[in-house]
């Protein structure tokens, strides 16, 4: 049995009142809360071991180094990377994507190449590629969406061709909830000779991740969306690619020999980790992975799927409400629901439900090209995590039913 109350007990933030009401946190696609055990692991590390890793010949330095490298091993196992050397710690998914764009993109993309993106990409997996395309003379091409908010294979075959040098796509859209068929897309793109960047920022909290099964060339995610602290993110890259790429950030730790005019670089993963790393962030991420291991992915998915189904159903009771995203259940859909209510701006919707203690997101969700494509300047977004409940959805529906009234509509 999935004991959601027991899970909720682990999250101090969820025990709060907001505007006099129990907090209902439905903004998990933006960031998740942190369980007590992760907060404790970070605190314990700070009180007992805090030191700068990799440079220490003293006790604390050695401990910090070991904990940092153990965290790397844990992340490698978590995403099934072939080796920890292929796991690079960054500050967030955005830095990881920029690393790939600056290091791989600027050195490998040629004039005349195509870079293909999905129209639903988050700005972090879009603006860096615009820049690469512009500076290298490549063409940025987009995959658009079907009526059911997923990809059309015919279009995929038209757009991804032997001219495609790089294909970047999120495994799960942070607006629509669509889960794209990454494995099949990667296989097809590889046939065409393209390198594939998978943005797992939204999928990692909800699906078992296996970068080898996906055959991703690069895969990124952010710790803070998966119960870890802010300030830690991950880039996985295939060894051959990482080894052949020039460094990105330069400074301490990533060098081998530094002379006045010339420098040679350290091996992966250190080549890409300049400066003092966020050891406590890595320790927190490792602890968050342990936390997740306490529940099976099947149970988490079943719970989140149940919530999503229930919410999709009940949202139909709210008059004038339109949903942007696939209707389906678990396959092809994650626990993120974007919607609008006729005549009500999403920002006003968020303010109104906030009075009932409910945290929704409003706006373009860092996906302006998608919003333009959908002709929706902004939407509201509900996003669930493993700690949300059906009761919370009932409160939301109730609150949403009052929105049009507050904004002066008769019904």
């Amino acid at each position: 049995m999935y004991d959601v109350q027991a899970i909720r007990q682990k999250f101090p933030t969820l025990q709060q009142q907001v505007n006099g009401k129990p907090l209902i946190y439905f903004d998990n696609a933006a960031t998740t809360h942190t369980p007590m055990e992760v907060l404790d692991a970070v605190r314990d590390y700070k009180e007992r071991f805090n030191a700068n890793p990799h440079r220490g010949a003293h006790y604390l330095g050695i401990q910090a180094t070991e904990l940092y490298e153990q965290a790397r091993e844990k992340v490698a196992a978590f995403i099934n990377a072939p080796s920890p050397q292929e796991v690079i710690f960054t500050k967030n998914a955005t830095e990881a994507l920029n690393l790939v764009a600056y290091s791989y993109g600027f050195s490998q993309i040629q004039a005349g190449d195509d870079i293909v993106l999905c129209i639903s990409e988050h700005h972090s997996n879009l603006v860096p590629w615009q820049r690469v395309a512009k500076l290298k003379g490549a063409t940025l091409r987009y995959l658009y969406l079907t009526e059911d908010y997923t990809l059309d294979w015919e279009e995929v075959r038209e757009v991804i061709t032997t001219k495609t040098a790089l294909f970047a796509i999120a495994q799960m859209s942070n607006v629509l909830g669509t889960i794209y068929p990454i494995r099949e897309l990667v296989a097809y793109a590889h046939q065409q000779g393209a390198v594939v960047v998978v943005d797992g920022a939204q999928s990692v909290p909800h699906l078992k991740t296996d970068v080898q099964e996906l055959e991703a060339d690069f895969f990124v995610f952010s710790g803070h969306k998966v119960f870890a602290p802010m300030g830690i993110g991950v880039l996985y890259g295939r060894r051959e690619l990482l080894e052949s790429m020039p460094p990105f950030l330069m400074g301490g730790e990533m060098v081998e020999y530094v002379q006045e005019q010339e420098t040679t670089f350290n091996d992966i993963p250190y080549k890409f980790e300049a400066g003092t790393p966020n050891v406590e962030g890595a320790v927190g991420l490792a602890s968050a992975i342990d936390f997740l291991a306490g529940t099976s992915w099947e149970a988490i998915q079943e719970h989140e799927e149940k919530l999503t189904r229930y919410a999709l159903e009940r949202l139909q009771e709210v008059p004038h409400l339109k949903i942007y995203g696939p209707q389906a259940g678990r396959t092809g859909r994650g626990p993120v629901i974007a919607f609008t209510i006729d005549g009500c701006h999403p920002h006003d919707v968020a303010t109104i439900v906030d009075q009932d203690g409910i945290a929704l997101r409003a706006g373009h969700h860092c996906a302006q090209p998608l919003m333009n494509y959908l002709k929706a300047p902004a939407t509201s977004r509900i996003s669930f995590s493993l700690y949300n409940t059906k009761d919370e959805i009932d409160v939301l529906i109730n609150s949403l039913q009052g929105v049009r009234g507050w904004l002066g509509y008769e019904s």
Partner: protein
């Protein structure tokens, strides 16, 4: 600040005002304003003649607060000189920052005084001030070009 003092009848009325929300064919200057974080996106168009705002209107999309604030502002500045409009803008922004407190000044804002307490809702401040910042920029650009 509770919802009923935010979504007052006056504000809701203005937020759906169609008279001020239109394209101004004969505009002499226009300026786009945007809140990247929440998506309010308006374009203010002015018809200026001899330093006077003869007509004004706006297009775009945004929340009730930004739309109402824009509409009230347009009502307020239409027919005024550019300097007067800029001054009113400063008074409005000063009111929001709680720097301007004298009743006389606030009364100059007419209906727009409705936003006096918006700073109690920090997330909505940006929505309320967008139009006024945009107006100031529009007038400054117009001055530059003339």
């Amino acid at each position: 600040m509770n919802l009923s003092s935010l979504y007052t009848e006056l504000i809701l009325e203005h937020s759906r005002n169609c008279e001020n929300k239109r394209h101004l064919e004969c505009a002499t200057c226009s300026k786009r304003g945007h809140n990247p974080s929440c998506g309010d996106d308006i374009t203010i168009e002015l018809l200026m003649e001899d330093g006077k705002i003869v007509d004004a209107a706006f297009t775009g999309s945004g929340c009730a607060i930004s739309q109402a604030s824009t509409s009230m502002m347009i009502d307020l500045v239409k027919g005024r000189s550019a300097e007067e409009a800029e001054e009113l803008s400063q008074i409005f922004l000063g009111m929001i920052k709680r720097e301007i407190k004298t009743e006389e000044e606030l009364e100059l804002l007419e209906e727009a005084i409705a936003f006096q307490n918006i700073s109690n809702m920090p997330a909505r401040v940006k929505c309320a001030v967008l139009a006024w910042h945009t107006l100031t920029e529009a007038i400054q650009e117009a001055n530059l070009h003339s």
